[in-house]
């Protein structure tokens, strides 16, 4: 697992609080904007316009913050796609080109995304190389085991609890979780 669940959950809570707070502020601002039109209001002319403009700006600011946080949440959710791809990797190295081909994103976009996710701590146990992402082999949860292919004898890395195809002959093999090779 290459996701930092704690960080993702914390970010969700913070974003939720910010969105809730801004929603409340928008509500209060709308009430203020309606105040000059009430029966008991005694403001007229320019002061009303200034008053309305001020609260309109505040409302627009709050709405902009809400949209910004929703976009940020959407961006963070993309790290699940990368995590899922890295979890299926068999040799500890996955190139940016292959990630781009799988996801349909452009290579610079993938690199920028991965740099952001690792830099902000949303993804862990990965190292970004010049052309590829290196998966941390030392992590307990991401253990790879080298086995020889039963068909051609080539050495193949298999993830514990998973399976994979031999890169040379295409034979599919599975390694059991408690098997020591």
């Amino acid at each position: 697992m290459y996701l930092n669940h704690g960080k993702i959950a914390a970010s969700k809570v913070v974003n939720g609080l910010v969105i809730g707070g801004c929603g409340l502020m928008t509500f209060i601002n709308l009430l203020f904007m309606a105040a000059p039109f009430s029966n008991s209001a005694n403001m007229h002319g320019l002061p009303v316009l200034i008053f309305l403009a001020f609260f309109f700006m505040l409302t627009a600011g709050n709405v902009a913050i809400i949209i910004w946080r929703i976009m940020a949440m959407r961006k963070v959710s993309r790290c699940r796609i990368y995590n899922s791809l890295l979890e299926e990797d068999h040799d500890g190295i996955i190139t940016y080109d292959s990630i781009a081909s799988m996801t349909g994103f452009k290579v610079p976009f993938v690199i920028r995304d991965l740099m952001w996710f690792t830099g902000h701590g949303y993804m862990v146990n990965v190292t970004l190389g010049r052309n590829a992402v290196r998966v941390d082999l030392l992590s307990n949860e991401t253990e790879f085991v080298a086995v020889s292919c039963p068909s051609c004898g080539a050495v193949v890395n298999i993830r514990k609890g998973g399976g994979g195809r031999c890169q040379h002959c295409g034979t599919f093999m599975r390694l059991q979780e408690d098997q020591n090779v």
Partner: protein, 195 residues
């Protein structure tokens, strides 16, 4: 299993509570808004109740959106579980469900991104969903040791000896010679690798 049960239960739990309050809020807000008795100060009161009603209606709509997403997740999971070789083209899913291909892709990607679907990757260049080789482990103690997703096994075709990947306990055809293959059940984890 390709659906994230934990996520589904958490989302259902939270949104069921939210929707109860949203329905109550919407009924009260709309009731006050459309009441025959006029407000003493109509503009601020109308703005307040209109805002409250829109927020509550938005929450109710979001609840149904979540509900639909969970339904799609279960549908995707059932289709993925029925697949034999771990390679599910979007066109096949489209034919099965009757939904246009681009919609299937859009839905699948969204569900993966949001964490409803797990152990699945979407390959954009091949327009296909790739199922994980991982063995799903059930959480319930009564099912311990029984893999929940009928994992894929490596078998040789008895007709042409091609190396194939097939889901345990299922029936499929060799893509090379067309011969029917019946995959064996998944063995105890202490047994050696299947090749």
């Amino acid at each position: 299993m390709y659906k994230n049960n934990t996520k589904i239960f958490v989302v259902l739990g939270i949104w069921s509570v939210v929707v109860v309050f949203a329905v109550l809020g919407a009924i009260v807000s709309l009731g006050v808004l459309f009441d025959d008795k006029p407000f003493p100060d109509p503009v601020p009161m109308t703005v307040m109740f209109l805002f409250m009603a829109s927020v509550n209606i938005f929450l109710i709509v979001m609840y149904f959106v979540r509900f639909k997403m969970i339904g799609s997740t279960i549908r995707f999971n059932n289709l993925f579980m029925a697949d034999e070789d771990g390679y599910v083209p979007a066109s096949d899913l489209s034919k099965e469900t009757g939904v246009p291909e681009f919609k299937v892709i859009q839905n699948g990607q969204k569900l993966i991104r949001k964490g409803y679907l797990i152990n699945v990757n979407y390959n954009a260049s091949e327009k296909a969903f790739l199922l994980s080789d991982k063995i799903g482990r059930p959480v319930g103690p009564q099912l311990q040791g029984v893999p929940e997703n009928k994992p894929f096994l490596g078998v040789y075709c008895p007709g042409c000896a091609a190396s194939l990947k097939i889901r345990a306990n299922t029936k499929g055809n060799c893509p090379y010679c067309g011969r029917e293959i019946i995959a064996p059940p998944y063995k105890d984890p202490s047994s050696s690798q299947t090749g």
